[in-house]
């Protein structure tokens, strides 16, 4: 079990994704809010990295910045050495909210990026079929999302993003709306796929079990202004399944991360209370 203190991660030259000194501020009616304060991280090819933090730590902002959906920040994000400006075809995004197109069938959803790329119909349907099978939705190709469960709809979104064969897969709490058991099993699926495809992945989550179960490294963030608090290398053996959740080593990792997280979460709660009390005062 090894821990690494925060260090300047830009020195890792083999990095596929490189996030350097990101500072993001917002102007709100209450003043200037610093969401992210000098965040840097790297993701090596084939790595599975999780970013975990309390609510209000800016992890969704980080996700949007890395994906190129949000601009106007200091610092730089690069993929394979190339600085991004806006969304980039090498970056695939899976969102927290349900994002399967309700008007398209499962197979049409998954074939979407191929359709955009101009791939011929028969070819793109067969390619999409491969990814539909990968996420375990064989037999549901012609169903509409409304006929599927929440977990299945998220699998459609994941398959669709995978079908665009991104260099790096970014996921923002994709299992947030699901119950714990479904999460664990879907986590298994994601792990399987990631190991099979050697897909470089960065997962944003608030769920410690999920982070430790799936990742090679877990990055813990502080409460706002968001900074990297700690990097934890997860030395659990691969290939992994959800059974690893019961092991001792697993428990130790979770405990370690939880103590950091708890500190930040309590800080967050105290801040919120202070702010609410301050707002309520003039009557």
């Amino acid at each position: 079990m090894t821990e690494t203190a925060v260090r300047d991660a830009t020195s890792a030259s083999g990095a596929l994704l490189s996030v350097e000194h990101i500072v993001k501020r917002f102007t709100t009616p209450e003043g200037v809010l610093t969401a992210l304060d000098d965040v840097s991280l790297t993701v090596a090819p084939g790595e599975f990295v999780s970013v975990i933090g309390p609510s209000g730590c800016g992890k969704s902002t980080l996700f949007n910045i890395m994906g190129g959906l949000v601009g106007d920040y200091e610092g730089r994000v690069s993929v394979g050495g190339e600085t991004i400006a806006g969304t980039h075809p090498a970056i695939g995004m899976v969102f927290q909210e349900e994002s399967a197109f309700p008007w398209r069938t499962v197979i049409q959803n998954v074939a979407f990026p191929l359709e955009i790329a101009g791939v011929a119909k028969s070819e793109r349907l067969s390619r999409a079929q491969h990814f539909v099978g990968l996420v375990g939705l064989d037999g549901f190709e012609r169903r509409l999302p409304a006929e599927l469960s929440g977990g299945m709809r998220q699998r459609v979104a994941i398959a669709r993003t995978l079908a665009s064969t991104p260099s790096i897969l970014l996921m923002d709490e994709p299992f947030a709306a699901l119950d714990e058991q479904t999460r664990l099993l879907l986590g298994d699926k994601v792990l399987q796929i990631q190991q099979q495809l050697r897909q470089t992945t960065l997962l944003i989550t608030h769920n410690i079990t999920e982070a430790v179960q799936l990742s090679d490294r877990v990055l813990v963030m502080t409460y706002r202004p968001g900074k990297l608090k700690r990097i934890v290398d997860i030395d659990l053996p691969r290939p992994r399944t959800s059974e690893v959740v019961g092991s001792d080593a697993f428990g130790h990792y979770v405990a370690r991360i939880w103590s950091d997280l708890r500190e930040e979460a309590s800080r967050g709660i105290r801040e919120e209370e202070r702010r609410a009390l301050g707002e309520g005062e003039p009557r």
Partner: protein, 269 residues
């Protein structure tokens, strides 16, 4: 945090409200200029597009004519009567249907399916029953606005959060207290919206009846200006009518809006 992700920096130059106002003025001016151009060119025959000056003059004559105000009064009274009769009966029926599920299943389909039908075709019957005077016009207006008010009242009644009723019952509120302290406040917004809708429809129903068969009222004046081919007067009448109708709607809207915003302010954070 997601809400703040999409914050946009303000643009240089005019602020948005200023630009909106400028665009609105621009649109209105363009329409008026185009109108005057068409009027002057004589493109459309028979004085169909009279010059703005002529319309303005007709408007002036209208607003200084005692007969106009008398007719306006007649129409106003008819609409008032229509809203009163149609509104009260619509409310009563709607609330009853909203409160009782059996009654709703038995009778609401009638109201629901009769709603989107043209009521003006009942006018010959109204004339037979109530004569050619104001009675048939009031009846027409009342018949028209009964349906949307009943439907809104029923819907409003059903949408009252069941929890609120249970709270009242658990505090052993008397029926009168239940009505005044729980039902009425909860119904305020849907009722105001229903009445707004009902007023608009009553205006239409009453006025259409006046245009079909009457010798007084604004509708009568409009048809009279049609048959005497006094186009500027017709435009003037239509302008006054629309201003009053839209104004009344906006007034009620503001009245309702003011009410609900004060509700929000009182809510604990």
């Amino acid at each position: 945090m997601d809400a703040t992700d999409r914050l946009v920096m303000p643009r240089a130059g005019w602020s948005t409200p200023q630009r909106v106002r400028a665009l609105r003025i621009g649109i209105v001016v363009t329409i008026l200029v185009a109108w005057e151009a068409v009027a002057a060119s004589g493109l459309l025959f028979r004085d169909v597009v009279p010059s703005l000056v002529a319309i303005g003059r007709a408007l002036g004559r209208l607003l200084t004519d005692a007969a106009f105000y008398w007719n306006l009064g007649v129409t106003g009274a008819e609409i008032g009567g229509a809203v009163l009769i149609g509104g009260v009966s619509g409310l009563a029926v709607g609330l009853a249907l909203g409160a009782n599920r059996f009654l709703a299943r038995a009778y609401e389909p009638f109201i629901y399916y009769l709603g989107p039908t043209p009521k003006i075709i009942f006018f010959p019957i109204m004339i037979m029953w109530f004569g050619v005077g104001s009675g048939s016009k009031v009846a027409m207006g009342a018949l028209s606005c009964f349906f949307p008010i009943a439907i809104s009242a029923a819907a409003g009644m059903r949408e009252i959060d069941r929890v609120l009723i249970r709270v009242g019952t658990s505090f052993r509120a008397s029926p009168w207290q239940m009505v005044t302290k729980i039902y009425l406040p909860a119904l305020r917004r849907p009722l105001v919206n229903g009445i707004r809708l009902g007023l608009g429809i009553a205006i239409i129903g009453t006025l259409l009846a006046e245009t079909k068969l009457s010798n007084r009222g604004i509708g009568y004046l409009i048809i009279q200006s049609y048959s005497t081919f006094d186009m500027p007067k017709m435009y003037a009448l239509l302008i006054v009518l629309f201003v009053l109708a839209i104004g009344a709607n906006a007034l009620i809207g503001r009245f309702a809006g003011a009410d609900t915003s004060s509700l929000d302010r009182g809510r604990p954070r």
